[in-house]
């Protein structure tokens, strides 16, 4: 880190000294700018939050109704201390943002989590020119190159059909915020059937419906009678439900996991799912490289994921790059 950096690391999280605010802090602070509503980025305990208007419903759900959150439209500039701050679509989940910080003509952008692929549940990634880019690197290796979504949806539909033919339930594990809604929205463009949802997902799906995102109808599993036969039905559940007593309702189910990690066979086989579908709400390798290029940044800091490889690759290509050790990440991919 350098003395005049617009963003530095503090024990509480990424901090902008000139604006006196934090970005996605992992401890309670006075002023926090949030990139999106995933648990490792949006933590409770801060006095005041700034976030994208389109994500307010989710954040209020996550942080509680009493949390004080100021909503901003994408591209709208607001002033914090000496800094002019604006939020720009990150294409990660509903209401996800990159944070642009400008002080004395110097521009930094913090991408938060982002992806470059189209997603019917959120606005597309917005390229923002900057001097310094702080990027995520969850999938910072070239083996991560996402297949076209329509191909993945084909595979999901084939699997669902196969489960119907074999009279077994199709249980798809996926993260409750973002992934589940994206699957429901992608499927809505192809079929018209009801999908069953784990209880942890229903309130989040509701927030997406509030935002007028078109998705397949979902019915909470808990609303069904005990003895209901789920053969041939698609059920979405968070990964934590795998192996739990909740799964007993779906005897002999075929299981699947939707995640970018499913790109690697070993990951899928290790987790013991029958099927793995490559669906990620993060950028793949080509997306990371393209984003760095398009941002025009001369300096790049990589936060979480395979930062080492990305940093070395960029350095080799003449971009000054380094790793920034944050507490983001975990498995929300």
């Amino acid at each position: 880190m350098r003395r005049d950096d617009l963003v530095i690391l503090r024990p509480e999280g990424m901090y902008c000294p000139r604006g006196d605010f934090y970005i996605d802090p992992w401890r309670g602070v006075d002023c926090a700018v949030l990139t999106h509503g995933h648990a490792d980025h949006a933590r409770s305990g801060s006095v005041r939050y700034h976030a994208a208007e389109s994500g307010l419903g989710l954040l209020q759900h996550r942080l509680g109704a009493s949390a004080h959150i100021v909503g901003h439209g994408y591209g709208e500039t607001f002033v914090l201390g000496d800094a002019r701050v604006s939020l720009h679509s990150a294409g990660h989940i509903l209401g996800s943002s990159q944070v642009r910080i400008e002080v004395d003509g110097e521009v930094w952008v913090v991408t938060g989590d982002f992806k470059r692929d189209a997603d019917p549940t959120c606005t597309p990634f917005d390229v923002v020119r900057c001097d310094t880019l702080i990027t995520e690197a969850t999938f910072g290796l070239p083996c991560y190159r996402w297949p076209a979504m329509h191909e993945v949806v084909d595979e999901v539909l084939d699997w669902w059909d196969q489960c119907a033919r074999e009279h077994v339930p199709a249980v798809m594990f996926c993260y409750a915020l973002g992934k589940a809604q994206r699957l429901l929205a992608e499927l809505a463009e192809r079929v018209d059937r009801t999908v069953f949802l784990h209880g942890a997902m229903t309130p989040l799906v509701e927030r997406y419906r509030d935002a007028n995102i078109r998705m397949l109808p979902g019915e909470p599993v808990g609303d069904s009678k005990r003895a209901r036969d789920f053969s041939g039905e698609l059920i979405l559940a968070p990964p934590s439900a795998a192996g739990s007593p909740w799964m007993r309702r779906f005897n002999s189910a075929s299981t699947a996991f939707a995640s970018g990690w499913m790109q690697i066979r070993g990951n899928r086989r290790r987790r013991g799912y029958d099927r793995g579908f490559v669906v990620s709400d993060h950028s793949d390798w080509p997306g990371l490289i393209r984003t760095v290029e398009e941002s025009g940044a001369r300096r790049v800091l990589a936060t979480h994921g395979s930062t080492d490889s990305l940093v070395r690759y960029l350095n080799d290509r003449g971009v000054v790059a380094a790793a920034l050790k944050t507490e983001f990440g975990g498995d929300d991919s």
Partner: protein, 525 residues
């Protein structure tokens, strides 16, 4: 290629054995016999001679992907499988015509001829495949280029599928498949043919394998119903005398030429006899440690010095065929009686019954196993048939408790396949003075939860990286079990342990209290 790649994907996706068998049956039913023959070859672990050098493959990949070499290596370390890494780093050219080749056609006309070409010509062809084959096919092609196809299908599943397809008994299919299976249409047709098919004189019978005894031996009934033998620690083998002598290992590899003493002695046996036994290094009245025998396995034509350093014997267990007649359905007692009369008692020896009037007598005998250089007892029901594979009930191995030490984790490396991008290959050390000296590598013994926990710890406590290997802070102690200890000049510690594995994670033990190298050295033979 397309049908075979689809089979591979289907096998890879299914977790249940019945799904896998169904996938195999579907494929074998639809495939032409020469394709099916190659599928059997690959899926039962068959390989072909290496066609291209791994280093050349890496260079071609660097050229095609336009990525720096270190990034290819990082990616390979992360993915844990070379064929998969190549598949993920290459892409079919969208306008390329997809080749429509049969599996057998591709192997015969494209793959095998690579061997005769210089590396540059090979590179052009292989890079062409990367441009034209779609993901699934490309993965299979890369698998064939890098060795074999392991897809969680055991030989047994292939046998079950072929049995279902042909309506023949699984044991018969196993027998037809044993030994050298040549992947030709004719061989496949013979494999699934109805009725009697003359079995090639070269072919071994499928081995009958003992299962580990987990219950108390008393539960097996009266000790008198059982033959107890030492569990010799050598190479399980089948000695076939049918117009000449052939020697097969349990892994169904031909050992001909490696043990001329045994072949010479066997030449005196009457024709049409097949013996099951163990090849052992032997001196005077006792077996030599396995490490001595190991040096002979690789020697195709051992010289006089090698022969003198580790003389061998064939310790006979069973007689499977006599005068051209298959004896497998006869009771063990009768087979053994006929066996005894055949042996010269010098190079061909009988694995003698271990005396013990009852189970407690055998238990006492078993306690001496380690001093005798054996691994415990094998129990065989006197009236048992010679079955196929590891079938529980009539043959048991009753091993002695392993030796154990408490060692410190010092290095870790990411595993392969199911364990790719998890640190699961561990190196352990013992104290010598105030230095930790590596003594063993172990891969198994922890459950998934422990593996994940240790993986996180390793990543957070790495001291240095040497390529794919990380050295970690000395902290965690593990109890290791192993079958034997030998002196070894090849190891820094001067000691080699046999079959090391992790027994448990000693979270209760501080690392400075781990065992010392001297303790292990005292156990060495």
């Amino acid at each position: 290629m397309r049908a075979f790649a689809a089979l591979y994907a289907r096998l890879d996706q299914s977790t249940g054995t019945s799904d896998k068998v169904a996938a195999l049956v579907d494929y074998f039913q639809a495939a032409p016999a020469d394709d099916a023959a190659w599928a059997v070859h690959w899926l039962t672990g068959g390989r072909i001679k290496r066609l291209v050098r791994a280093n050349d493959l890496r260079q071609w990949l660097i050229d095609v992907s336009a990525l720096p070499d270190w990034l290819i290596d990082d990616t390979y370390a992360h993915v844990g499988d070379l064929a998969e890494t190549i598949t993920l780093l290459t892409q079919r050219h969208p306008t390329a015509a997809q080749p429509e080749l049969s599996l057998a056609g591709f192997v015969a006309h494209e793959l095998l001829p690579l061997a005769k070409l210089p590396p540059d010509a090979q590179g052009a062809i292989v890079q062409g495949w990367w441009r034209t084959f779609a993901d699934r096919e490309r993965f299979v092609v890369n698998k064939l280029l890098t060795g074999g196809l392991r897809v969680g299908v055991s030989r047994l599943l292939v046998v079950q599928a072929l049995a279902r397809l042909s309506g023949q008994a699984g044991d018969l299919i196993s027998h037809r498949l044993s030994g050298d299976f040549q992947p030709t249409a004719q061989a496949f047709q013979q494999l699934v043919a109805p009725g009697e098919v003359a079995i090639d004189a070269d072919k071994p019978y499928p081995f009958f394998l003992a299962s580990p005894l987990e219950q108390a031996p008393e539960s097996l009934g009266p000790a008198g119903d059982w033959l107890a033998e030492w569990k010799w620690d050598g190479i399980r083998a089948q000695l076939i005398v049918r117009d000449g002598v052939r020697l097969w290992s349990r892994g169904e590899e031909r050992l001909d030429g490696r043990f001329p003493e045994i072949e010479r002695a066997a030449a005196a046996l009457p024709n049409g006899h097949v013996l099951d036994g163990e090849i052992l290094g032997w001196e005077g009245d006792a077996p030599l440690p396995f490490s001595r025998l190991q040096k002979r396995i690789g020697r195709l034509k051992p010289g006089a010095r090698t022969l003198a350093e580790c003389p061998v014997v064939f310790m006979a267990y069973d007689l499977i065929e006599a005068a051209g007649k298959d004896l497998r359905q006869q009771p063990l007692r009768e087979r053994r009686e006929r066996l005894e009369g055949l042996l010269d008692g010098a190079t061909l020896r009988l694995s003698r019954p271990v005396d013990g009037a009852d189970w407690s007598g055998l238990q006492i005998a078993r306690n001496n196993a380690r001093e005798l250089g054996v691994e415990g007892l094998i129990l065989k029901r006197w009236n048992s048939a010679y079955a196929t594979g590891r079938r529980r009930g009539d043959w048991w191995k009753w091993k002695i408790a392993p030796l154990t030490i408490d060692a410190v984790l010092i290095y870790a490396q990411a595993g392969h396949g199911r364990r790719s991008n998890l640190y699961t290959d561990y190196t352990f050390a013992l104290w010598q003075g105030d230095e930790l000296v590596p003594v063993a590598k172990a891969y198994s013994g922890l459950n998934d939860e422990e593996i994940a926990k240790l993986d996180r710890w390793i990543r957070a406590h790495t001291l240095e990286r040497f390529g794919p290997v990380r050295s970690v802070q000395a902290f965690h102690v593990f109890e290791l079990a192993f079958e034997g200890v030998n002196r070894s000049s090849r190891h820094k510690s001067g000691i080699a342990v046999r079959f090391p594995r992790i027994l448990r994670w000693r979270t209760d033990k501080p690392f400075h209290e781990a065992d010392r190298l001297e303790t292990l050295a005292k156990l060495a033979q």
